[in-house]
């Protein structure tokens, strides 16, 4: 066989920048026709960005894509569709208001002689696909009466029904349970048998080793290596390549404070549950301690962080703060008790990007700086200036809008807003996502200074080095449960990743 025709996709030296953040750095690899090719990596390794580029939804900053022997110029989702590439997105992409059959064939390509949509034919074709892959779906059923897993199955059917030569699956199993995952594995096997190329993204190692022909590891936006998946490949080989990075010197590392941690329980969550989100969450934060939460996409850490602050309702469970039970966990009661939350998305839920920094800062402290109904603007400005100075936010004036600041400076403003309230407990969700190393180190320094002043700190992060430099203890989550606890002495990246990604 001619070697050059054997390659379906060649990724050549692709880089992608988002502002100062480089999501992909000179990534190159080749996918052969008809293989199951897996991209493996932690959160933020660049997997999703890469598949979006392969699908044409994102444009690479530099580099070339060659498809079926043709180097593509002016790439777009339409071009990739015409080339036979379909994608199942990480977030559900379905028409909830339509039926299963209509979701599988949104192009309405079956017409009667008079030009009407041939519903019978549509349903029959849909039924054929459903039967072919042994799925439990009814073509005429409305999508909004289905479970998430069924909706995802429908999306997969749409991707493979379009006559696709290649299917991109971005974390398709994050919303599925074990049986559903096994079912998906069978479907992928079938597709491979039919000669369809699969590019698969996951961080669940057992699953990846089960299904892939070849596995490429990405780390921090860089290509690390490619393994051929044979008997010789061990789980630990993959894990060590996923995490094996040097601890950067610029990261502010925390000294051992273990002796200053008292036995006094500062914040406690007992038996917190929510169907399909988290199960049996129990943990304690002791006074003076920094507690970390680590979990890969879909593990439930995000929900835990939101639920303990009242952003999401829990179905059962109790929350205690300084030995006192909090009856109603809502954001208002939490803020009243001086518990603050730093959101993981400063753009959509963290900052008023179009309002001045002064207004942003005043959000949680309006009451403190007003007499009756009158706001004391002078004192509020002083307050803002104090924090802007303390956190060395690079800003021309407090009237500047955060929109015009860099990511790192926005994050510092966000931190100032929360610390301006003089909180006793700080819950941070991805406190340094998407900002450069220097700003990262500064923010870590500010967080730890707050801890020294007696503020409790819980860090939810998908970045292991961050957790390792900040935390005294890390809880690891997988499949919506807490599955491991690691103390400062035993913290190592391999160990944490083995718990979070290994096994099934």
């Amino acid at each position: 066989m001619d070697k050059s025709n054997d390659n379906f996709l060649i990724i050549d030296n692709i880089s992608k920048n988002y502002g100062v953040v480089q999501a992909l750095k000179n990534v190159s690899f080749t996918v052969k026709k008809g293989e199951v090719y897996t991209l493996l990596g932690e959160n933020g390794a660049g997997k999703s960005t890469l598949v979006k580029i392969i699908k044409g939804e994102e444009t690479p900053t530099k580099g070339d894509i060659t498809l079926d022997g043709e180097t593509i110029k002016n790439y777009s989702p339409m071009v990739s569709k015409a080339m036979g590439i379909a994608m199942v997105h990480q977030e559900l992409a379905i028409f909830e208001n339509m039926t299963v059959a209509e979701n599988i064939f949104p192009a309405c390509d079956y017409l009667t002689k008079t030009g009407a949509v041939d519903k019978k034919r549509l349903r029959k074709e849909a039924q054929d696909r459903i039967d072919m892959f042994g799925m439990d779906l009814i073509p005429s059923q409305k999508m909004d009466t289905l479970t998430v897993a069924q909706q995802q199955m429908t999306e997969i059917l749409r991707a493979i029904s379009a006559g696709s030569k290649c299917v991109l699956l971005d974390e398709p199993t994050s919303g599925l349970n074990k049986d559903e995952t096994e079912n998906l594995m069978k479907i992928i096997d079938r597709l491979r048998a039919e000669g369809i190329t699969i590019i698969y993204i996951s961080h669940r190692i057992a699953e990846v080793m089960h299904i892939s022909d070849r596995i490429t590891v990405l780390r921090d936006g860089e290509y690390v290596c490619t393994f051929v998946n044979d008997e010789k490949l061990k789980e630990i080989d993959l894990i060590s390549r996923m995490v094996g990075r040097e601890l950067t010197k610029s990261l502010y590392s925390r000294k051992a404070y273990t002796d200053t941690i008292s036995d006094e329980v500062f914040f406690e969550v007992k038996n917190m549950n929510k169907k399909n989100a988290v199960y049996d969450i129990d943990f304690q934060l002791r006074k003076g301690e920094v507690l970390g939460f680590f979990g890969l996409e879909g593990s439930g850490t995000d929900s835990v962080s939101r639920m303990i602050f009242g952003l999401e309702a829990m179905e059962s469970g109790e929350v205690f703060f300084k030995g006192e039970k909090i009856d109603k966990v809502t954001t208002t009661t939490m803020v009243d008790k001086k518990i603050m939350y730093i959101n993981n998305n400063r753009k959509t839920a963290g900052l008023l990007l179009n309002s001045s920094t002064l207004n942003n800062m005043s959000m949680p402290v309006l009451k403190e700086y007003s007499r009756g109904a009158v706001i004391n603007n002078k004192r509020l400005t002083e307050h803002t200036e104090k924090y802007v100075d303390a956190f060395s936010v690079v800003i021309p004036s407090v009237y500047q809008k955060p929109r015009n600041l860099s990511g790192g400076n926005q994050q510092k403003v966000l931190l100032s807003i929360c610390l301006g309230k003089e909180p006793e407990l700080l819950i941070t969700n991805e406190p340094t996502r998407g900002i450069d190393v220097g700003a990262k180190a500064e923010i870590h320094k500010f967080l730890l200074e707050a801890v020294e002043k007696g503020v409790g700190l819980i860090v939810f992060s998908s970045e292991l080095p961050e957790l390792m430099s900040l935390c005294d203890r890390i809880l690891v989550m997988k499949n919506k449960h807490i599955v491991g606890e690691i103390s400062k002495e035993e913290i190592s990246e391999e160990f944490i990743m083995t718990i979070a990604a290994g096994g099934i």
Partner: protein, 340 residues
């Protein structure tokens, strides 16, 4: 495998349940249909003489026809996820344009076509503002609503020319009928049938639902969102112009107050009839039943000689009730599926 099967069977059993009343309620627009039936029965039983009086039937037809025609266009827009507040102004402005051409002595058919084209053009402007300039439909169509209502007033107030006394054929077009049913009502029936067939069977009709259901995904699936939405605005403009011309003919005069509250009535009727401002749902018959219900309600107030100011209060409550019941049912289903 069992874990996938279990919830599905539960749901599908419910979906295929023998309880036909519940099944009926799930069909889009059925609530409006039932409400029409109830109002009809109520009026027919309590005040049969007044209700079935020929003059009352005529008044009902005159009330239903123009708003029903406008509601078809509005429903198409709502299904695709947008709306148009300028329809009332289009009615008045297109009516005035036709009237001015008639007074100037142009052939009737030319005058009507000019009026209709004015509506299409305004719809096109609305479509461009929403789809090409990316202006929220609330703002862009309020803009055109004010511009064309204002233009109508500017052209009519304090002018020496009266736009009335049109040719008889044109006036008969608004006042006469066939088999005891007014022309404008026939037009409504034909349009409902045509657009229902279009929406239910044509691929473009289906695409309206795809766009309204998930705009971004529709784009990724290669559906020409902008073209279809702009087209929908043009249809809405065309139908509003037609309604305006019919009312001008019926009144035998241009009137700057035509369609003053039509946009609100029509949106309320469409929502009662199963449409949603979130897009992706609704049906043409639903829109018609919504309008019929509104007209019955208005009729009831007239026949019982109630304080007409009460009418809006009642209508407001009905609207809230319909939307709340729908919201409640959606919420319950989401809970059953464990989504929230």
């Amino acid at each position: 495998m069992n874990r996938i099967k279990a919830p599905l069977q539960k749901i599908s059993n419910k979906f295929l349940s023998k309880n036909s009343f519940k099944k009926l309620l799930k069909i889009n627009g059925s609530i409006a249909f039932l409400m029409c039936l109830i109002m009809f029965a109520f009026l027919a039983i309590s005040v049969p003489k007044l209700f079935f009086n020929p003059f009352n039937i005529q008044a009902l037809m005159f009330a239903i026809a123009p708003e029903g025609i406008v509601a078809i266009g509005m429903m198409i827009l709502l299904i695709s996820g947008v709306f148009d507040l300028s329809v009332g102004s289009v009615m008045a402005f297109a009516g005035l344009m036709t009237a001015m051409m008639l007074v100037a002595g142009l052939p009737i058919i030319v005058c009507i076509i000019i009026g209709l084209l004015v509506g299409v053009a305004i719809g096109f402007i609305n479509g461009l503002l929403v789809e090409m300039a990316g202006i929220n439909p609330l703002i862009s169509t309020i803009g055109t609503m004010y511009i064309f209502r204002g233009a109508t007033e500017f052209l009519m107030v304090g002018r020496s020319v009266d736009y009335n006394n049109f040719p008889e054929i044109f006036v008969n077009f608004g006042r006469k009928g066939f088999l005891g049913v007014y022309w404008m009502f026939w037009i409504l029936i034909i349009l409902v049938v045509v657009f229902t067939i279009f929406i239910v069977t044509r691929p473009t009709g289906k695409r309206l639902y795809f766009i309204g259901g998930n705009e971004n995904l529709a784009k990724l699936m290669g559906i020409k969102k902008r073209k279809i939405r702009i087209g929908a605005y043009m249809i809405s403009g065309l139908l509003a112009a037609l309604a305006g011309i019919l009312m001008t003919a019926k009144n035998d005069a241009a009137n700057r107050y035509i369609g003053n509250v039509t946009h609100m009535n029509v949106i309320i009727a469409c929502v009662i009839g199963g449409g949603s401002l979130n897009g992706g749902q609704g049906s043409i018959p639903g829109a018609l039943f919504g309008i019929i219900f509104l007209s019955f309600l208005q009729n009831a107030f007239n026949l019982f000689d109630f304080e007409s100011s009460m009418q809006r209060i009642i209508l407001g409550f009905v609207l809230m009730a319909v939307v709340s019941v729908d919201g409640f049912m959606t919420l319950r289903r989401q809970k059953e599926l464990g989504r929230i």
